[in-house]
């Protein structure tokens, strides 16, 4: 598993831009009605906008020239009504489009988040949290403008451009060709700038992601940073990341800012060519002055939407990098899934067997080699051995946090792969060294073990692990709001709460991975008694280094060098 560090750029898979775009706009397909409504509104608006000059012409040529004050007033009222209708239409269009684009964003973020929840540890282990967050929040937000502009800019502007080009060619194809002669140059220019800026926007997004990851890490480890007096150091790293982020932006806009100017240049060039041919044709008597003037108007009617489109395109290129990053996650197949024939795990009685299990986190580096053992229901198994030998790996495999390469892990004779992950894990209770508490009340945190648990059950669980005493000492008892990660509690107290949470879930198989390491010996003894009472006769696995913790184990396994060795008695450890 390649780990991506905070300061290194992520590898984002490159797919063709067209596919990313198609995929982004695919979300709009769900809103066919709304899109059609918006397009209709836009069509009516365009018509009204086109009528406006006619009204003005009519007013000047007919009524004002004819000094018909009443006629002018009547026309004025019509114009006012027409334009108020237009405003109303704009209002409708804006509302519909805002709703559509916000809803698409809602959907994309929902899909992304739901998908991330299905991914396995391998995904989370290989990248900093801050980088995943950057995708869920920032990258999704970046799509908003693109989505709403796609309907309101793209299609109407294309229609305008096509109709103007059509009119020009019908009126005078030679002049039309002259006026549009700079178009190929513009397309080349825009394509060039696009190809340059796209990569740079991708880099810019990655730099932003690095920065986000670093901020996340720095905030999470603030205690370490301040304790080591390393503020200057982290500041320096942050400044480097900031500089990279800024430089990547400047590097990208150096190209991206050329979009408009290129269009401007070609606009000027086209106008020059138009006048050159136009004036010569007039002088040769092949053209009327009126036509040239009309063409002058058409050419700005042509270039303005082209300018809009190029702005939109620029925006698209800027933000497509965000879409790519979102779709990349959506395309990450969860490597741990319920098989098609997976069924619910029935209530577990607690027989666990490993049959020739071979497992590695990374290829070619086997953590477990051909490990086999059988545990009968109700047995307490102690796993000992040097750190890093694979003790935690064994319990991770029982919960199917990772899939093994060879062999079989069975619970009650069923392969863990043959049952649904949720039905399997919800019957397991795993307590690890790293305790994680959520922000929320103590009650909510314990209830996480079983969402439907009653108040009595919560208190019973807390009493069993001797957390009740310290909870009651707090002013608000179970209603005490815990801060993020349980800040404000001691490490031991956090461990006790996590214990209560696990107890509440009434696991059929209990796994204690160094679960009592921060608890004092005296409390630990009490906790053990509490667990025994609550989980009588359940299979349990205990990883511990303190002999006191494992004194009561039925079986003791020594894990080392990828293998496993059963020790016959407690005394044997002493050697």
């Amino acid at each position: 598993m390649a780990v991506n560090a905070t300061r290194t750029d992520e590898q984002v898979q490159t797919v063709s831009k067209r596919r990313t775009l198609a995929r982004m706009f695919y979300y709009l397909l769900a809103y066919k009605k709304q899109v059609v409504a918006v397009l209709t509104i836009m069509l009516v608006s365009v018509v009204i906008t086109l009528i406006n000059p006619l009204i003005i012409q009519q007013a000047i040529d007919v009524y004002i020239a004819g000094e018909d004050w009443h006629g002018l007033k009547r026309l004025g009222i019509v114009a006012v009504l027409l334009n108020l209708t237009l405003v109303l239409l704009v209002k409708m269009r804006m509302y519909i489009m805002a709703k559509v684009s916000n809803e698409v964003l809602l959907t994309i973020r929902e899909e992304l988040y739901t998908h991330i929840q299905t991914l396995s540890f391998q995904f989370f282990d290989s990248r900093p949290t801050g980088k995943i967050l950057a995708r869920i929040i920032g990258d999704v937000n970046s799509l908003k403008e693109v989505l709403s502009n796609s309907v309101t800019t793209l299609i109407p502007d294309f229609i305008t451009i096509l109709s103007v080009v059509g009119i020009m060619f019908v009126k005078n194809w030679k002049l039309a060709a002259a006026a549009l002669s700079s178009l190929p140059l513009m397309i080349l220019g825009v394509a060039f700038v696009q190809s340059k800026s796209h990569i740079r926007w991708q880099i810019h997004r990655k730099k932003g992601s690095n920065m986000n990851a670093f901020v996340h890490e720095d905030l999470s480890g603030m205690y370490v940073v301040q304790s080591f007096g390393a503020e200057q150091e982290t500041k320096q790293i942050f400044e480097e990341l900031l500089q990279e982020h800024k430089d990547s932006f400047v590097d990208a806009v150096r190209y991206a800012d050329a979009f408009g100017p290129i269009v401007d240049f070609c606009w000027g060039l086209g106008t020059m060519v138009l006048y050159f041919f136009g004036v010569n044709m007039i002088l040769d008597g092949m053209l009327q002055v009126g036509t040239l003037i009309a063409f002058g108007t058409y050419i700005s009617m042509f270039w303005r939407p082209v300018m809009n489109l190029s702005n939109f395109y620029n925006q698209l290129v800027t933000n497509i990098a965000g879409a790519e990053r979102i779709f990349e996650i959506l395309d990450t197949k969860p490597d741990l899934t319920d098989g098609e024939t997976a069924c619910e795990m029935p209530e577990i009685t607690g027989a666990v067997s490993f049959r020739h299990v071979t497992f590695s986190y990374e290829k070619e580096k086997e953590v477990l080699k051909d490990v086999s053992f059988e545990i009968e229901p109700g047995q307490t198994v102690a796993l000992i051995g040097p750190t890093g030998a694979g003790k935690s790996t064994i319990v991770n495999l029982i919960c199917r946090f990772y899939d093994i390469q060879h062999g079989q892990v069975c619970i009650d004779g069923r392969d863990v792969k043959s049952v649904t992950i949720e039905s399997l894990r919800s019957q397991m209770g795993i307590m690890t060294q790293d305790v994680f508490l959520f922000s929320g009340t103590i009650r909510e945190n314990i209830r996480y073990g079983r969402l439907e648990a009653s108040e009595e059950e919560i208190i019973r669980a807390a009493k069993a692990v001797h957390a009740h005493e310290f909870i009651m000492k707090m002013e608000k008892g179970y209603d005490t709001e815990l801060k993020e990660r349980g800040a404000g509690l001691s490490a031991g107290q956090r461990q006790l709460l996590a214990f209560a949470r696990t107890m509440l879930s009434e696991p059929k198989i209990l796994i204690l991975d160094e679960a009592t390491s921060s608890i004092d010996t005296h409390t630990e003894l009490l906790v053990q008694k509490g667990i025994e009472a609550l989980l009588k006769g359940r299979t349990s696995f205990v990883i511990a280094h303190r002999l006191s913790t494992i004194q009561n184990a039925d079986r003791i396994f020594r894990v080392d060098n990828g293998g496993i060795l059963e020790l016959n008695s407690f005394e044997e450890i002493e050697k």
């Binding site: 006012v80 540890f121 100017p261 401007d264 935690s392 959520f438 921060s518 004092d520």
Partner: protein, 570 residues
């Protein structure tokens, strides 16, 4: 906090240059009808062929000019804006890092992240394209207004009435949007917080198979975020059409009243035509104004959020002229130290004297205040009674930096950065620790062997929080990190709990050989503290028992009982 206006003033010449480019660009734009007019009137009408090439060149030149100055204007705005945004972010980060533990305990990581990232991004936008377009809109509109004024003062009254209305709507909208954006920014932070907590606690989520619960939790925030965004859209939908209405009706009204004036013979038809054209040219800037004010409101709301963080001051500060110790020897004295937090008594009347080079062991029940002793020693909280002396000097008089850097701490909760093993060990003294020292420290922490077995050895990347390493491996790297600091005081806060007994014993042995360092060892295992020169047993924040292993054994109290349970002998 450095005010935005101050940044703008500082960089006034850059902005002046960019605005200069903008003015040239817009002016060139206004020139082009003149050239068209001369082409038709002079070249075609009067047959002055000799000026034709010049005029053609003029058209081309305008295109090139617009291109060059347009580019310069945009690029300059983008560049200076990004520089200012970078500085805002840098200062914000700096300020956040200076805040005290209590602040971080009460503030969610996800929230602070969204301040540093998303809120600064919003301000960034206001410094680049928003300010640029705003200037362009204002300049463009002013030019047109001047032209209108010169054409006819009577008709000029119409835009004079219309403009303040536009301004009024803009201000009203900005105010309404400001409130919504305030909420959006808040919800953005909440979204970040929920997602951050979920990702950080992914192991717990998966262990309890609570994915669905987590998704529901997130979705309710996502939904709320959507609703707030719709609220913003609704405000925009209410006001934006008003701008449209004014700009669309302007030419119509001009025509009606202008027509009346023409009929009355006060102005010519030509003047009216020109006036109408000008009033149509005012359309896009006015429509743009609505969007600009929208984004501007977002930036203002974000800036308010930053101000809120700046209103937080570090609780723990050093005196104006701290008394620096020449060289820290490591004599620690607690004199009747007590600590109260939020009305709870955490430490009560703790006294001890730990001479340089000696070792203090601390044991005690969960929540008895063991770690708090370290917190007050490093001034994460200030004592509420008594005092702590380092080499005879009250630690509140020392430079904070010196105090903290003279204590190398191994924490209970190991936190490693996603960086290489080597950089992690170096952390805190990046520039100073040599590779050999890194290796020696890892060796001392019994980590050298497993690190060397890893594929890239010292350059192996460790995942966030040490993901990919076992608990014991993480602890050993964190011990090495503290040793590498060569600080006069070494504190091990329950930091061998995940180690097997052999390794623990070996590390203890290694540490014993590190003399001339004052050591504080907190632990639950008798084996880790029994060799200490003094052992304190804490209970409810007070010293319940104290002495050496032998004297405490004799006492047959708490310590003795613990020894019994753990099978320790004298």
């Amino acid at each position: 906090m450095k005010k935005i206006s101050k940044y703008l003033l500082e960089k006034w010449y850059v902005y002046a240059f960019a605005i200069g480019c903008l003015v040239i660009k817009v002016s060139l734009d206004m020139l082009s009808p003149q050239i068209t007019k001369r082409m038709i009137d002079d070249v075609i009408g009067k047959g002055q062929k000799e000026i034709f090439p010049m005029l053609l060149f003029g058209v081309f030149f305008i295109g090139v000019g617009r291109c060059v100055f347009g580019y310069l204007q945009e690029f300059t705005f983008d560049r200076v804006g990004s520089e200012i945004a970078m500085d805002i972010r840098r200062r914000l980060f700096d300020h956040i890092q200076s805040l005290s533990m209590r602040y971080f305990n009460n503030t969610n990581t996800g929230e602070l992240m969204s301040r540093v990232k998303d809120d600064v991004d919003k301000i960034w936008g206001s410094l680049t394209y928003i300010s640029m377009l705003l200037v362009e809109v204002i300049f463009h509109t002013s030019v047109i207004l001047v032209c209108m004024y010169r054409l006819d003062r009577g008709l000029f009254l119409i835009p004079v009435i219309a403009m303040p209305m536009v301004a009024l709507f803009a201000i009203m909208m900005e105010k309404k949007l400001g409130n919504v954006y305030e909420e959006i920014s808040e919800e953005n932070a909440a979204l970040n917080t929920v997602a951050e907590e979920n990702l950080a606690g992914v192991r717990t989520v998966k262990a309890f198979a609570r994915e669905k619960f987590e998704i529901r939790k997130f979705l309710s925030h996502n939904k709320r975020y959507y609703e707030l965004n719709m609220k913003q859209s609704k405000v925009l939908v209410r006001y934006q059409p008003l701008f449209q209405a004014i700009t669309k009706l302007l030419p119509v009204i001009v025509i009606i009243f202008g027509g009346h004036r023409v009929i009355e013979g006060k102005i010519t038809l030509g003047t009216l035509g020109a006036f109408v054209e000008y009033s149509m040219n005012i359309v896009w800037p006015m429509e743009m104004l609505g969007w600009l004010f929208n984004d501007f409101a977002a930036a203002v709301a974000s800036n308010e959020k930053l101000k809120k963080i700046y209103r937080q001051y570090p609780e723990i500060t050093e005196p104006k002229s701290p008394e620096r110790l020449e060289n820290v020897k490591g004599n620690i004295t607690f004199e009747h130290v007590s600590l109260e937090l939020d009305g709870h008594s955490i430490l009560r009347d703790i006294s001890f004297d730990l001479p340089a080079g000696k070792t203090l062991g601390i044991m005690g029940e969960t929540g008895a205040g063991k770690t708090s002793v370290i917190h007050v020693l490093q001034r994460f909280y200030d004592v509420t009674g008594g005092k702590i002396l380092l080499d005879g000097k009250d630690i509140r008089k020392l430079p904070l930096h010196q105090l903290r850097r003279s204590i190398a701490l191994v924490m209970q909760d190991v936190f490693l950065f996603s960086d290489t093993v080597e950089e992690n060990v170096r952390f805190g003294k990046r520039g100073e620790v040599l590779r050999e020292e890194v290796v020696a420290s890892l060796d001392c922490a019994e980590a050298k062997n497993f690190v060397e077995r890893m594929e890239s050895r010292y350059d192996t990347l460790i995942g966030e929080r040490g993901v990919g390493l076992s608990g014991g491996q993480k602890q050993r790297i964190s011990i090495a990190r503290a040793i590498a600091k060569r600080a006069p005081i070494l504190v091990l806060d329950d930091s061998t709990s995940a180690l097997d007994m052999d390794t623990e014993r070996q590390i203890q042995e290694n540490l014993r050989n590190v003399t001339d360092v004052t050591k504080i060892i907190i632990g639950h295992r008798v084996s880790s503290v029994r060799d200490a020169d003094e052992i304190l047993i804490l209970q409810d924040g007070k010293v319940a028992e104290r002495g050496t292993h032998e004297t405490l054994w004799e006492k047959k109290g708490i310590y003795y009982q613990t020894c019994q349970i753990q099978g320790e002998v004298i």
